[in-house]
Symmetry: C2
Subunit: 413 residues, 2 copies
C-alpha cells in the first residue's frame, strides 16, 4: 500500500503566497482555476524535478502526468538540452543583436515541420496565436475568425469569452463559434459571410477541458482545408498543446492536411522559454509587415535548447514513443477500472490522454478517484488532458496502475 | 584612430536568415524597423557578450549602449545573477507546480517597489501592460483608455495603431490619444467622457522614438493622479523601459506620485525572461478574477535571477550609479560636439539618454554621426533612447568620447 501524502508545507506556502500574489498561484497551475479539483488532494509548490518526477515542498514524490502542462517532453532536466543551453548561456543570451542560433533553429523547424516555409519566434503560445490572427487579417483585409467551441488559444482579449473579467464586446465581436466536427455549419458560415472570413483557427483535435476529447471525423480537416483554400481564408492550427506529441512534422501532417499557419510552444524546447509561428511562403510578407516583437524574443539560450530538443525528438521519434507509452498506460488503467467494475473512458491521443470515469454523470466519482491517485503520488488532474514524457518508464507505468488500483479500492468503500 | 568595422559575415548571415525568417531579423533588433539607421553602419548578428560589450559575428567589439534594448542593467553575464539562475536550473525550472522562488520574488518586489502591495509575473512587457488594461476594465466596468501620443506599450492589438498591419478598428476604438504633458486636455477628456474612462496609461516620461525625450512638467503627474483618484480611474505606469534605471522603488516614486498599477520587464532580471505587474490592494481581486496565464509563467529560473538582480540593484543603488555614468558620458559628448561646432541635444534621464544632433532638421547629419560612431565600435542607434549598464567603466566612457570625436571629424569632411 502506498502512503497518503501530507501537504502541510504546501498549505503554509500558499498562505504566504496569497499575501503578495493575486490568487496565490494563478492560471492552470493554481488551485482556483479548476485543474486542482478536489483541491485538498493536490500539492501547491514543487521543490525539484527530474525525469518524469517532481517532488513537492513536503517531500512527496509524484509520477507527473501533467509535465508542466506540456513543456516537459523529454524528461525534466534532460542532459542534452541542458548542455546545449548551458554552452550558449556562457557566451550570451539576451544581446543587442541576435545570435545566429536563431537562424539554425528556424532552418531546423523549416526542415522538420511539413507546412513550414519560415519560422518566427516569440515567448508565449499566446504571442503566436495572436500573431497568426493578426497576419490573417493583414493578408485578407477581413475581420471575422471562426473558432471551435471548447477551444483554448491563450489569454489575449480576442481569444477570451465575453463574460470573462476585463473583456469587452469589441474584443470578441468578430468571433464566430462553431461546433467541433460540424463541417456543415462551417460551410453555412462561409456562405453567410462570403468574403468576410479571415481565418479558421483550431486545435488539431478537440482537447478541451471538462469533457471527453474528440478526434477529427474522417475528412473533416480535408474539407475545411479545401473550403479555406477556395475562399482565400487562412487555416491556422494551434499546435501549442499537441505539437510534437502526435507527429514531429506537425499535428496537421498527422491528420493528413496542411495548415497555412501553425503555432508551437510548450514542447518546443523542453521547458526553455520559446514559442514559434511557422507558415507558408505566401504569408511571409504579411508577417514581415507587422509590428511585432518583445524584449526577450531573440534570446539565444532558448534557441540552443530548442535545436537540441527538436534534434533529439527527431532522432528518437519521440511522438511514436510517447504514444506507445500512453497506450500501455491507457490499457492498464482501463483494465484496472474494469476489474473494479468501473467504466474508465480514455480519450484523445494516447500521448495526451484525457480521463473520465463514466459511472457517475456528476463527475464527483471521477474527482474522488483522481484525488486518491494524487494523494498516493500519481499526478493526474480531474478535467484537463494529461501529457506523457519520454522519461516515463515501464516501472513508472506499472506503479501508476498499482496506485490507480488502490484508488479504485478506496472509492468503492 | 579606430579601425572601421567590416560586416561581411553579418550580411551573409542576414541573407541566410531572410530565407527562413520573415524580415530576417524582426522587431527593434532588425534592420527593417527603424532602429538600424543607416543600415550599412550596423552589425546584424552577435557572437558573444560580456559586461558592457558584445562582439558581432565578424569579430568586431562594441561598447553597447542599447543593452539588448534594456535587459542588460548589471552587465552581460553578471556572475551573481548567473550563479543564482544556475543553482535553480539544477533543481528545476518549468515544473507542474511552481517553486517557492515565486513567493520570494513577489515578496522582494512588494518590499522594493513603492506602490506594490502584490506582484503578478508573466513573460513579456506586453503581457503585463495588457493585463493592466484588462484589470482596469474588470475593476471599473468601463472601456476607454487614455494614451499619450508617442507611447509604446507593446504589440497586442489594443496598443497598436489603426494603420498598422493586422489591426482592425475594434482593436483601438476605445483608445483616446492625448498630447504628453497637456493636463488641460486630460481634464477636458475626463469631463467629456464622465464615468467612462477605465484607465490612463503612460510611461513615466515621454521616451518615444524620433524626437527628444521629455520629462513630466512640474506637478503634471500629481494632477493626473488626483484626477484619476477623483474619477475612480486606474493610473497605469508602464515602467518596462525606464524601470530600475531611475529609481529602484519605481519611476512613479522618482517623480513623486503613486501609480495604481506598474509594469516591469527588461531590467527586472538582467536578461532572464520575466515581466511583472505590481499594484495596489484594491485591485488584487480584479486581477484574481481574470483568466490570464502562460506555459512558462511560473518557471523558477527567471525568479531566482530576478531575486539576485533586484537584491544587487538595491545593495549597490544601481539607478544612482547609472545616472552618474550617464551624466559623465552626456557631458563628454556635448563638449566634444561643441568643440567641433555642433549642438548635440541629450534628452531624457541620463541612464536612458536620447541623442539628437540639432544642426540639421532632416536628421541626416545625426544619422551620419551615429553611423561613424557605430562603425568604430560604439553601439548607438539613431532614433531610440539608449541604455546605460553598471559594467560601463570610466575607460569605456573615455573611449566612447574619443570615437565620438573621430566621428565628428569624419562628418565634417
Amino acid at each position: 500500500m502506498h502512503k497518503i501524502n501530507d501537504y502541510s508545507k504546501s498549505r503554509e506556502y500558499f498562505e504566504r503566497a496569497s499575501k503578495v500574489i493575486p490568487s496565490g498561484i494563478y492560471g492552470h497551475q493554481g488551485p482556483a482555476e479548476g485543474c486542482y479539483i478536489p483541491v485538498e488532494a493536490f500539492p501547491f509548490f514543487s521543490e525539484k524535478a527530474q525525469g518524469t518526477y517532481f517532488w513537492d515542498v513536503d517531500g512527496n514524490k509524484f509520477i507527473d502526468y501533467m509535465c508542466a502542462y506540456g513543456p516537459n517532453i523529454l524528461g525534466y532536466n534532460d542532459s542534452d538540452v541542458d548542455a546545449a543551453a548551458a554552452a550558449q548561456r556562457k557566451i550570451g543570451d539576451c544581446i543587442t543583436a541576435p545570435s545566429t542560433k536563431m537562424i539554425e533553429f528556424a532552418e531546423l523547424l523549416v526542415d522538420t515541420v511539413a507546412t513550414a516555409d519560415w519560422s518566427f519566434f516569440a515567448k508565449n503560445g499566446n504571442d503566436v496565436t495572436t500573431m497568426a490572427v493578426m497576419a490573417s487579417r493583414a493578408y485578407t483585409h477581413r475581420k471575422k475568425i471562426i473558432f471551435f467551441k471548447g477551444y483554448y488559444h491563450g489569454v489575449s482579449p480576442w481569444t477570451q469569452k465575453i463574460d470573462y473579467a476585463g473583456i469587452i464586446e469589441e474584443d470578441v465581436c468578430n468571433n464566430i463559434y462553431l461546433q467541433w466536427n460540424d463541417f456543415d455549419a462551417i460551410q453555412a458560415t462561409f456562405d453567410k459571410y462570403k468574403g468576410e472570413i479571415a481565418a479558421v483557427i483550431g486545435q488539431p483535435y478537440m482537447h478541451g477541458n471538462f469533457k471527453d476529447n474528440t478526434l477529427p471525423e474522417k475528412d473533416f480537416w480535408q474539407k475545411v482545408r479545401k473550403l479555406c483554400t477556395d475562399n482565400d481564408t487562412i487555416l491556422i492550427i494551434d499546435d501549442v498543446r499537441a505539437g510534437f506529441r502526435l507527429d514531429i512534422a506537425g499535428s496537421d501532417h498527422y491528420f493528413g492536411f496542411e495548415a497555412d499557419l501553425i503555432c508551437f510552444c510548450k514542447a518546443l524546447a523542453n521547458g526553455y522559454n520559446v514559442s514559434a509561428l511557422c507558415g507558408k511562403n505566401f504569408l511571409k510578407n504579411a508577417v514581415s509587415s507587422m509590428s511585432y516583437t518583445g524584449s526577450y524574443w531573440l534570446s539565444a539560450v532558448p534557441f540552443a535548447a530548442g535545436i537540441a530538443c527538436i534534434t533529439k525528438m527527431r532522432e528518437q521519434n519521440i511522438p511514436k514513443l510517447l504514444n506507445e507509452k500512453g497506450t500501455k498506460l491507457k490499457e492498464g488503467l482501463i483494465n484496472t477500472a474494469k476489474k473494479h467494475g468501473y467504466d474508465l473512458h480514455v480519450s484523445g491521443a494516447a500521448s495526451l490522454f484525457y480521463l473520465r470515469l463514466a459511472d457517475d454523470p456528476t463527475l464527483m466519482l471521477h474527482q474522488k478517484w483522481i484525488a486518491e491517485c494524487v494523494k498516493r503520488g500519481v499526478f493526474f488532474t480531474s478535467h484537463h488532458n494529461h501529457f506523457v514524457n519520454a522519461a516515463l518508464s515501464d516501472e513508472d507505468i506499472a506503479e501508476t496502475i498499482e496506485i490507480a488500483d488502490e484508488a479504485f479500492t478506496e472509492i468503492k468503500k
